[in-house]
Point group: C2
Chain length 654, copies 2
């Protein structure tokens, strides 16, 4: 059996981790040989495969499982669309400039950074032992960055700073400017004063066509492409609701000062779902299947009370108790959780945080972020919001194109009401140019007034007061009022939208952090324990050397694995087997097979498992069969060990 592996023998070492990602080309700064551009990264072969595998699983888990309608809409978007959606006016951050260097900083980040640094300096001066919390670690780092000396602050200042930080998302730009002046907040890198905050729209602008007359933006999210195609999607779905559209694609945000690697970038791949639902029925057909999924929740009441204590409960309980607003939102939160765990996110480092009232868009009714913990703290990686009818309503109002569902009612709604009908010919003859005024006066009457008028008319004549100084006398020949029956067989409504929105780069990065550890014996030997489902390469084929005699077997094994649907790579480079395995531990390759002289003579092959480094041996075909099942998850390593005896040969050791 496999020996137990201690993956936490060494604390997470970000420097080593980043060196590994760089060395194995998971990703790298784009245009590196040109000096690079902040916030733009290229994915290399390992990162691209990992991303492709995550996307492939996303497609299966969401699109195929729930018969979603996939879309692929354009990035380039005419300005009018984002004027309507509110992005031109509001998709902005406040920035300040260093008054001497012209360096640009995000105003809220500046306030947060400097105040946190001062608080940390205060704590240090007061001799308070830093608690082993990430928040504290962050403060330390920021303090260092801001070069603040340890200095005790008056108690009321500490209180004021803490209060500012707690409501940071609430300040307007001018208020942030006021804070900078009042508290003398300066650029921590230069200690220079900063300018008044200016609004900076985060959309990249361009113009479409040769005349330069059509302003356009690169989309900052894929969502608008779904909303604009709503009528076509509804039609594709045979007019039925609920249904969901889904899209995986590139989006762009011109971040003011991107600094946190893949966590805040200017160009990124998103996967978004827009689930269209009847506002009067947000139950979900498959909620029963998700009911028992356990979630870690941080609800808005807890946060408002100043705590960040999470609660564990099933999604069923959360919806039953009104913590999550409705079944559909609950269903998606459960499915998001299942997806993240399936690809390898550590369940202990995943929580769902509810937006507080002041944090949510004004139209949203409930919103939860899947936050994943990593070396920078908790990071929002998936948003899941009930956006009500906002998006469809604004586009419909702007374009005049109805974005509604017309639903045949099972039971038509029967209503009765009084209907007034003029004898138009007689009306014109009698009242000439006043006819219109009179007609309008009657049309504006409510049910009660019509009944009163009907009564009067039944007496032979009636008086209608059209305005302060105009009254008309009419007779039953001019106007008849009758009670009529109406049958409504169609209900028309604007659907609501539940939107799960995934930032794939953030998920990929946090997954890499969660997968990283170093061998107990040697801190320099990093390993990425990616699950076979998403690992870039599933099986490494390692011939003892690049000698020709191994070629036929290498070709046989790789072609058999390919036929079984298992992606393998050959490493016949001129270095020891141990080094080749170590390189592939860094790439997250879960299994390796070694072809040596015994393979040529006896048709046997060894199978190595990445985390335990334990090796088994069997015939080539047995090993291929077992490793195929391991990759597809139908057997585990313990079962593989029962099938294949341990290998204790001298070759192919690490």
């Amino acid at each position: 059996m496999a020996e137990p592996v201690n993956k936490t023998a060494h604390a997470f070492d970000k420097t080593r981790f980043e060196a590994l990602l760089n060395r194995r080309f998971f990703y790298a700064p784009a245009f590196e040989i040109y000096g690079g551009v902040a916030g733009l990264y290229d994915y290399g072969p390992a990162g691209s495969s990992l991303q492709a595998n995550i996307i492939s699983e996303w497609r299966k888990h969401f699109i195929i499982e729930d018969y979603m309608l996939e879309l692929d809409t354009t990035v380039m978007t005419p300005a009018s669309v984002f004027e309507t959606s509110g992005h031109v006016a509001r998709f902005a951050d406040w920035m300040v400039k260093d008054t001497k260097t012209g360096d640009v900083l995000r105003a809220d980040h500046l306030v947060k950074g400097v105040l946190e640094a001062r608080l940390a300096g205060d704590q240090e001066a007061r001799g308070v032992a830093a608690q082993p919390k990430d928040d504290e670690k962050d403060k330390k780092k920021k303090k260092k960055a801001a070069k603040t000396v340890a200095a005790v602050l008056p108690d009321e200042t500490v209180k004021e700073y803490e209060s500012i930080l707690a409501q940071l998302d609430n300040y307007s730009g001018p208020e942030l400017g006021e804070l900078c002046r009042k508290h003398n907040l300066r650029n921590p890198d230069t200690d220079n004063e900063v300018s008044e905050p200016q609004e900076f729209n985060l959309m990249f602008a361009s113009s479409i066509g040769p005349t330069g007359q059509h302003p356009g933006y690169l989309r900052p999210e894929t969502a608008q492409g779904h909303f604009l195609n709503f009528s076509r999607l509804l039609d594709y779905n045979n007019g039925r609701i609920p249904f969901a559209s889904a899209q995986i694609g590139r989006s762009f945000r011109n971040e003011i000062s991107p600094r946190a690697g893949l966590l805040r970038v200017r160009e990124f791949t998103m996967a978004e779902i827009e689930h269209f639902v009847d506002p009067e029925d947000k139950n979900h057909e498959k909620f029963a299947e998700a009911r028992n999924v356990e979630l870690t929740l941080l609800d808005k009441y807890t946060q408002v009370s100043g705590s960040s204590k999470v609660t564990k409960m099933t999604v069923g309980e959360a919806v039953d108790n009104g913590i999550i607003a409705n079944q559909t939102l609950g269903y998606f939160i459960a499915r998001i959780s299942q997806f993240l765990l399936k690809i390898g996110i550590n369940p202990e480092r995943l929580r769902f945080r509810q937006h507080m009232a002041n944090e949510m868009a004004h139209y949203a009714t409930d919103c939860w972020d899947a936050e994943i913990h990593n070396s920078t703290g908790w990071t929002e990686c998936v948003g899941c919001a009930d956006r009500a009818a906002y998006d469809l309503s604004v586009h419909s109002a702007r374009t005049g194109h109805p974005l509604v569902v017309r639903q045949a009612l099972k039971e038509p709604i029967i209503t009765e009401r009084e209907v007034a009908e003029f004898n138009k010919k007689l009306l014109g003859k009698t009242f000439k140019q006043d006819a219109g005024v009179l007609q309008k006066a009657v049309e504006s009457m409510d049910e009660a007034e019509l009944i009163r008028l009907k009564g009067e008319l039944s007496q032979g004549k009636a008086t209608i007061k059209a305005s302060e100084d105009k009254s008309f006398e009419i007779t039953p020949e001019l106007l008849t009022i009758e009670r009529k029956t109406f049958k409504q067989s169609i209900r028309e409504y604007t659907p609501n939208v539940i939107e799960p929105s995934f930032g794939l780069g953030r998920i990929l990065y946090t997954l890499l952090e969660h997968s990283f550890w170093a061998r107990e014996q040697d801190e320099e030997r990093g390993v990425l324990s990616l699950p076979p489902l998403v690992a870039p390469t599933k099986v490494l084929i390692v011939p003892l050397s690049a000698r020709e005699e191994f070629d036929p077997l290498v070709k046989e094994v790789s072609s058999k694995l390919r036929r079984a649907g298992v992606f393998s790579r050959v490493d016949d480079s001129n270095t020891s087997i141990g080094k080749r395995y170590a390189r592939n531990d860094e790439l997250g390759t879960p299994y390796g097979v070694t072809i040596d002289f015994a393979s040529v003579q006896n048709r046997t092959m060894t199978l190595r498992e990445r985390d335990t480094m334990s090796q088994r041996i069997g015939t080539i075909d047995d090993v291929i069969a077992t490793v195929t099942e391991l990759v597809f998850g139908t057997v585990d390593w313990a079962e593989a060990c029962r099938r294949l005896p341990a290998y204790d040969g001298v070759q192919a050791v690490d």
Copy 2:
């Protein structure tokens, strides 16, 4: 057995075809409810699935089969990169403006359109029967568009026009302007004169970061992302060459007047391969496997001779006879052909056209386009070029970062040469500030001069003329010259690049055209005969009605199909089975299964084939097993008919 199907009973009807694509939401103009934007299209569920399936097969056929290194690089690119690559200076078209309306036209398109229309008018006036060639059809259309009347042209004018058209790609902007003036070429839509041609760069411009100081462009191709990462890729491949990188991603071209649907758009998905190879050895390891692939070729000599007659030959013959420049280029052309045929392109409508000398970029050594015939004529869908060392050389020169391969030589190269060495101390003491001048003079000497100097020194002293008015006398103590042996064990070179570049939208569109036909009995019943490999949905599940009693079977069948890896959809809409099948014939769904009362009672199910509409019957599990094999191509319909008896029931007829 299935009856034969006559797919050519009706001529291709573009109006019906486009109506079908629109109705079934393969794609639609983006921002349609805002009035649309020329050259931007959204893919709906059917188009997105088709595209995803084409990409998935592309990944298997190219990336996985040949162990290519996948990349995912950014769209947003700093201007300096495209200055180096030549795109800022040269990635442009010439445009003219209508002098009254300001409408913009591509200058070469204007010349082509008007001259072709005049030639067509001439032919008509001369009473020449239009030949049933597509080119003629095109001319007719253009004539109509240009509202040219039938009028006989002088013979020499006809000759002149034809000569202009034959070398259209050769004219500069000013020359195109000259043509417009000389031949009075006007905007065919308005009959107004046009302005002088101006150059218009096709890249979308934007700026990166909040200060607006960093100009950027959206990439018009993915290639630069490969070249800039060359060193990292080489390292990932353990320093070995040849290898290929591959990338699937969005690119942008701000076309002057996009008009041809998906064939000329402003935003599109490309798939590009950059195969890096030793310039001294462009053989390909797997060429033997491709040698017998038959190709339809239109080489440059044939074109230059004024003909467009294609030749069929194997890729082996083409390379052996020097028609295709080298094995690697030949290998990729063969693989491209195999890929296009596999996804359903009609082999009769595929040819490879070689670029003529004046058509190719100056650095390219050979270039072939896979052209696919469609209702607009022959369209370039894949380019396959040998770009030599151009790209890596220019980026390397600009950045100073070496983009080279350093290869250990099996046999070191031994060379001998004369080496001059100064006694530096003595040199400084003797010549003071002139020491440097003297040193430079010696360093700039060639072998012959050094031997001459060595000879002089062996006589005791020598004179060195450093410039017109400066000579120095030196002794052997100051300078020794010796013959030394050098051993070069590393060869350093810039690899060449073979680049297959796929426009996926063009391939998708031509595939749809090739797949479209209408039932012989009823021209309105369109069918898309997409191969199961790429069809958006593989199996349609059709319950007789939406009644609850069919639900368990519908769920069973769809879950069993999903487990078998077969993507199905249920259509339980409230319309006849025939109409539901007709709708799915339009979506290209190859198979359908019907669940009716017999299914509930006897657990049988019928299986329908799209093209023949023939129906078979069997137990639910037998039908699932057979349809799974049909979808994966391990059995054909004839074999399915042997396994499952014909169905002649009254239900589920079309």
